[in-house]
């Protein structure tokens, strides 16, 4: 076991998969000489050379588009988009191509690529560096969306994402990059995509969260008899684990960092309404950010759902 932060854990996963499989490539802006602006790809250029660790032009559509071509022709590219706020230039490539290639070529081609990108608020960054728009991507059939919540899940999930035969959008909560350290196995391991993790066991309430909000959710849940589910994957997501827990507890609070309207919590709430209504003792409740344009650094703490709000919502659910 090594005690590492998320940046180090991700770097371990990349390094180990690149050692294991020569078809794994890394490409993106500043990923080579600079080792990535958050240093996730540090040392990879020195170890694996410029043919496998490619500094690209500043070109989100070009990076993802070229990664699709590489993936279709036998490589396993791991492309970095420097911040999620810049991914929209590549949205067309993900929505129109990466996610559809297997289906529209009737299986002649597939697209085993990974797009890594930091997301989320709380790093006092400038505009467009802090949003959580995971639901936009989870809505696209054919694209997997994975969100780790700490170093150990980051390493196992990234390893799975690289080995996955289909395209995976891998969202890295920027606020957690260096915030927490965990014991992480030294060698390679996988965490299955599509499976949630029971972060804490309880009986009276189910709290569902993922990525950047998990830490706050765990703190907020202290003192309550609650299951806390770390979703880990949004597409596909672990409906079985969520249903089983809510059928047991009869109460569900879903915590997301994204704005409320059409966020991923809405999908979970809808499924609970369809499949678990007979077990519910309280309305399904969502904790979410406001439906506003995300403010800059000086107001971001007011925008992000806080521990207090999560606790209040838990208490509200327990009143029923």
């Amino acid at each position: 076991m090594a005690v590492v932060n998320m940046v180090q854990a991700l770097n371990m996963a990349l390094r180990q998969e690149m050692e294991k499989d020569p078809s794994v490539l890394v490409l993106g802006e500043d990923v080579g000489v600079n080792g990535g602006v958050f240093r996730v790809t540090e040392g990879l250029l020195e170890r694996f050379g410029g043919e496998r660790v490619m500094d690209t032009p500043l070109s989100e559509c070009g990076i993802v588009g070229a990664a699709i071509g590489m993936a279709a022709f036998g490589f396993l590219p791991v492309a970095e988009i420097q911040f999620m706020g810049f991914i929209y230039g590549a949205f067309d490539q993900l929505a129109s191509h990466a996610s559809r290639l297997r289906a529209r070529s009737r299986g002649r081609f597939s697209c085993p690529l990974v797009i890594r990108t930091p997301y989320g608020a709380g790093i006092k960054a400038i505009e467009l560096h802090s949003e959580s728009t995971e639901a936009l991507f989870a809505h696209i059939p054919g694209l997997k969306v994975v969100v780790p919540s700490g170093p150990a899940s980051a390493k196992g999930l990234l390893t799975s994402a690289i080995r996955d035969p289909d395209p995976v959008l891998f969202l890295e909560p920027a606020r957690l990059y260096r915030m927490i350290k965990e014991e992480v196995p030294e060698g390679p391991y996988t965490i299955p995509i599509g499976r949630a993790r029971m972060a804490r066991k309880g009986r009276g309430l189910t709290i569902i969260s993922w990525g950047s909000m998990l830490q706050k959710t765990m703190k907020a849940a202290e003192g309550f008899d609650a299951d806390v589910i770390d979703l880990q994957s949004l597409s596909p997501w672990d409906e079985e684990a969520v249903m089983a827990s809510v059928k047991k507890t009869g109460r569900a609070v879903i915590v997301q960092e994204a704005p409320r309207t059409c966020g991923f919590a809405s999908e979970i709430a809808a499924c609970l309404a369809e499949e678990a209504i007979a077990y519910l003792r309280a309305p399904v409740m969502r904790v979410a950010a406001y439906d506003v344009v995300m403010p800059l650094a000086r107001l971001e703490d007011f925008y992000m759902p806080g521990i207090g709000t999560i606790r209040k919502t838990i208490e509200e659910a327990l009143k029923y």
Binding site: S59, G65, R102, K144
Partner: protein
């Protein structure tokens, strides 16, 4: 201190076969009589397919179709220059390219009738699925070309698009990336002058499209796109260069879209009939045929046999498509991912249980 010119560029245009069917011997690429007949046969088959597809669409037996009429030279001659190992990335107006490399015709009918199975490229061919969203496939060709280079394969990627594509960001990002990575890719623009109703003058203020490559550090050339020999020569040289590790090239084939944008369009709304007639007179097939007659490469007998052969090949292909029939609804659930997700399983079961 000084102000001086630090770079100058020139844009070349290549023409070999004139409208009277005379070829410039000095510029003529090395093509045997059989090669020339081979290109001609593909052009003729492409046109026959095109006419058949338009007819079938009018009869309600085929879906919306994008005609290639007038672009047969740009398509057949460039695709003829490709090796079997090169990879082709077509847009939606490349039936002539697909036919030239031997894509099964019944599968083209399948695709244009709305059946994805027609896009499953046979294993012995190297053709990517048609790209509908304009210019978004250019980066794929660049990525594939980088992959070929990394594998040290002597192959090239060839990507086809129209003049409208040169206005989009994907075009520029792909060109830029190809230049930076010296990727073995050949960009072929069929500048057919119209993007639905928008003329070239509304796509660009530049004098040529070819010159756009120069800004990305690799050569661009304009060719008479209705001149098979000019297209073949430019494509062949660019492909050899790419396979030899000398990087990307751009070929602007100046041609014309004789038909409507698709069967859902009426081009008489936005362009004068005399312009169409002007370009109809420059027909690429007629031009090559005149040349072949002069050179003794074409007899009436051969022409008639070809036409009969094409008609029966099209009959047979369409019959085969109809015999196969529409895809079963279960096709819809296949291959979103390699392994279906739990949710997909549930949805498929509910589809089946609900009686489809």
């Amino acid at each position: 201190m000084a102000e001086k010119t630090i770079a100058t560029f020139e844009v070349r245009r290549l023409e070999i076969l004139d409208e009277e069917g005379n070829a410039d011997k000095a510029l003529m690429p090395s093509l045997t009589g059989d090669d020339i007949r081979g290109i001609y046969e593909k052009m003729l088959l492409s046109r026959a397919f095109d006419e058949r597809a338009l007819r079938l669409q009018r009869e309600g037996r085929l879906g919306t179709y994008a005609s290639i009429r007038g672009q047969e030279a740009a398509q057949a001659a460039s695709a003829f220059a490709a090796e079997k190992s090169d990879w082709i990335f077509p847009s939606f107006r490349e039936t002539g390219v697909q036919i030239t490399v031997g894509y099964p015709i019944f599968m083209l009918f399948q695709y244009w009738s709305g059946d994805e199975r027609g896009m499953k490229c046979p294993d012995d061919l190297s053709v990517f699925p048609i790209c509908i969203s304009v210019s978004t496939h250019l980066p794929h060709a660049v990525g594939a070309a980088i992959a070929m280079k990394l594998k040290k394969q002597k192959k090239a990627a060839i990507v086809y698009f129209g003049d409208g594509a040169t206005s989009k960001g994907d075009f520029h990002e792909a060109f830029n990336m190809a230049g930076v990575f010296k990727a073995p890719v050949v960009f072929i623009c069929q500048n057919n002058q119209w993007a639905i109703s928008v003329p070239l003058s509304r796509q660009t203020a530049a004098r040529t499209l070819a010159q756009k490559a120069l800004a990305y550090g690799f050569p661009g050339i304009q060719v008479d796109g209705n001149d098979v020999f000019a297209v073949y020569r430019a494509a062949s040289e660019a492909l050899h260069k790419a396979r030899d590790g000398e990087g990307p090239s751009f070929i602007e084939c100046q041609t014309y879209r004789i038909s409507d944008h698709t069967t859902a369009d009426d081009s008489s709304r936005y362009r004068p009939a005399r312009e169409v007639e002007y370009w109809r007179a420059k027909d690429p097939i007629k031009r090559l045929k005149t040349y072949m007659e002069k050179e003794g490469l074409l007899t009436e007998d051969y022409q008639r046999q070809l036409e009969e052969k094409n008609e029966s090949a099209l009959d047979e292909a369409f019959r085969k498509m109809e015999e196969i029939g529409p895809p079963p609804p279960s096709e819809m659930f296949a291959r979103t991912f390699k392994e279906p997700t739990r949710r997909e399983d549930i949805e498929m079961r509910s589809f089946v249980d609900g009686g489809g």
